[in-house]
Amino acid sequence: MSEPVNGVSAEDVKKIARLSRLDVADDRLAPLANELNGILSWIEQLGEVDVDGVEPMTSAVDMSAPLRKDTVTDGGLRDDVLANAPKKEDGFFVVPRSVE
């Protein structure tokens, strides 16, 4: 494969975890790096396939993207939308402060 991939470090795992919005305990970083490297080195064999001039797959059966009129087909379901909220008040979701 064209990109350098072998060798995800513990530091890389920390970065990936950050991007994934997951916490990884410090003592799990190195074992997880090993696991990911195992999987990634197995994936490496895709580099053997000649894909010059090959289009990426889009669908199994040739079909054009369906179009419909740009009209409202749904809505007015505030209570349904809020029904499973972990926290709600007066018809709104309650979320942690994100702007100081």
Partner: protein
């Protein structure tokens, strides 16, 4: 009266049509079976009272002459399909007690056809697994066992175990890399993944959107055909839904396979495959020949790249799909110091190990600088796999392979290398990548008395040929073994 839980779906529908028993009687028999099978852990949520109401309503409809395709049949639903008013959690803690206010299109079709729903079936968390051991609700135990508890396969392990144990007449399932067919093989049941786009994905919890496809697990090939007829159909709410007619597939079952060309791909003869599975495959070839089919050797040269391509595409799409679980709008929320800390804590507490591993692989392969090298390349390899099949269809009409590279294995088997578990899908994953229909049919027992399945793969939209060939295989195999009832 005969044991109603031993009937096939087809025979049960006939029995109700003839007035031999009511849907309520049939449903009560299955509720009793479910109550006696808690050890299998097949269901996450029971809906027995709802089932009784639906059965009574079905009997009333029948009395008035309204009879749907699944009228009055007690069935199970994999807990990946959203069901209005009934908890749907995808085997994950992160969805908490999520109770949809809407119905998935697949189960809506089945309800409209008269389904009675017994409950929501256990599965690997977000359908990620091949043994049903990643469920936050504990592993499902295979009704088939030898000395130890065995896995039912995954991810549709609850669906397969429930059908095999006679807890329901059939069940919905989903298949992203083999999650219908491998559990069917492990439990002596029939499971079909149809052509991508046959069943709407709307309202089904998403794993990898370009691969996910719903289908049934059933006791017989004909039962699977009846269920798939109900589940399929165009849905404007899924932009990848195919706007094509749904044939009467049940009528294809039992048709002659004389002159049908069955391809045998040499690349599926892998190193380390148990000799019993090779022998069963050879036996399958003989059965198809004896039924009048013509056997054609074929080549699918990119087969070995299917699993690695899958383990780029599936985690990449999963990491995007699972980004929605942020603890804000539904499901679990674990409060942190600020918004980002709340996201991190919620997702870390809510997702299990395997799901977290796949989210991280997916995030990595989609991250800046790696998209072309991984995702784009894997999607191009998919095109190569599609080309392999298109070449094969020049000389054959269907393909015969084993379903899984092993018989069911022990619960808790130590798997230190995740790739070892991924190899379960080696024979099934190609059809997900190419979007083709594939069915698993129980074909025999191994030396320990455990079931093994064979797979038939067909052209896109040609489920009719798949059902025809599978039905011939079923007739020839005459598989009528049942697990010994140890669980109640």
């Amino acid at each position: 009266m005969t044991d109603l839980t031993k009937l096939t779906l087809s025979d049960a529908l006939d029995g109700m049509a003839k007035g031999e028993f009511s849907s309520l009687e049939l449903t009560e028999a299955h509720i009793k079976a479910c109550e006696g099978a808690k050890k299998l852990n097949a269901f996450i949520t029971d809906t027995h009272d709802l089932a009784r109401q639906q059965a009574k309503a079905s009997d009333e409809r029948r009395a008035k002459g309204t009879v749907g395709l699944l009228e009055g049949a007690p069935l199970g639903v994999k807990d990946l399909f959203c069901t209005e008013g009934v908890k749907t959690c995808a085997g994950s803690k992160i969805l908490g007690d999520f109770t949809p206010t809407y119905e998935s299109s697949v189960t809506a079709n089945m309800k409209a056809d008269g389904m009675v729903m017994l409950g929501k079936l256990n599965l690997d968390e977000f359908a990620m697994g091949s043994s049903n051991e990643t469920s936050a609700y504990g592993p499902v135990i295979n009704p088939w066992r030898n000395d130890v508890d065995l896995v039912p396969g995954g991810s549709s392990g609850g669906s397969a175990a429930a059908v095999a144990a006679g807890l329901c007449l059939g069940a919905t399932a989903t298949d992203t890399g083999g999650s219908i067919r491998q559990p069917a093989s492990f439990t002596g049941t029939v499971g079909i993944k149809p052509t991508y786009g046959r069943c709407s994905r709307w309202g089904t919890v998403a794993f990898a959107s370009s691969l996910d496809q719903a289908g049934p697990i059933a006791k017989t090939v004909k039962d699977a055909a009846i269920l798939l007829e109900s589940m399929s159909g165009y849905d404007a709410k899924d932009s990848t839904s195919l706007n094509v007619d749904v044939p009467k597939w049940s009528e294809a079952c039992g048709q002659s396979v004389k002159g049908l060309r069955i391809g045998i791909p040499k690349e599926y003869m892998i190193d380390g495959m148990p000799t019993e599975i090779q022998a069963l495959w050879d036996q399958g070839v003989e059965w198809m020949k004896a039924a009048g089919a013509e056997i054609v050797p074929i080549t699918l040269p990119h087969t070995k790249y299917a699993l690695p391509a899958y383990y780029v595409v599936a985690p990449a799409e999963a990491s995007s799909n699972l980004a929605r679980y942020d603890g804000m709008r539904y499901g679990l929320r674990v409060d942190g110091d600020d918004l980002n800390d709340t996201y991190d804590k919620t997702r870390t507490a809510g997702f299990g190990d395997e799901v977290r591993r796949r989210i991280m692989i997916g995030t990595y392969v989609l991250s800046a600088g790696y998209y072309d090298a991984y995702y784009l390349r894997a999607q191009k390899v998919r095109t190569r796999i599609v080309e392999d099949f298109e070449n094969a269809w020049q000389t054959c009409d269907a393909i015969l392979t084993p379903t899984a590279p092993s018989a069911p294995f022990a619960v808790g088997r130590k798997v230190t290398d995740p790739v070892q578990m991924y190899l379960n899908d080696i024979f099934t994953v190609t059809t997900n990548l190419a979007g083709l229909p594939g069915i698993s049919v129980p074909a025999g027992l191994d030396k320990d008395g455990l079931p093994l399945g064979l797979q038939i793969i067909g052209r896109a939209l040609d489920e009719a040929t798949v059902f025809k060939a599978a039905s011939a295989l079923e007739d020839a195999a005459g598989f009528d073994s049942k697990p010994e009832k140890w669980w109640s």
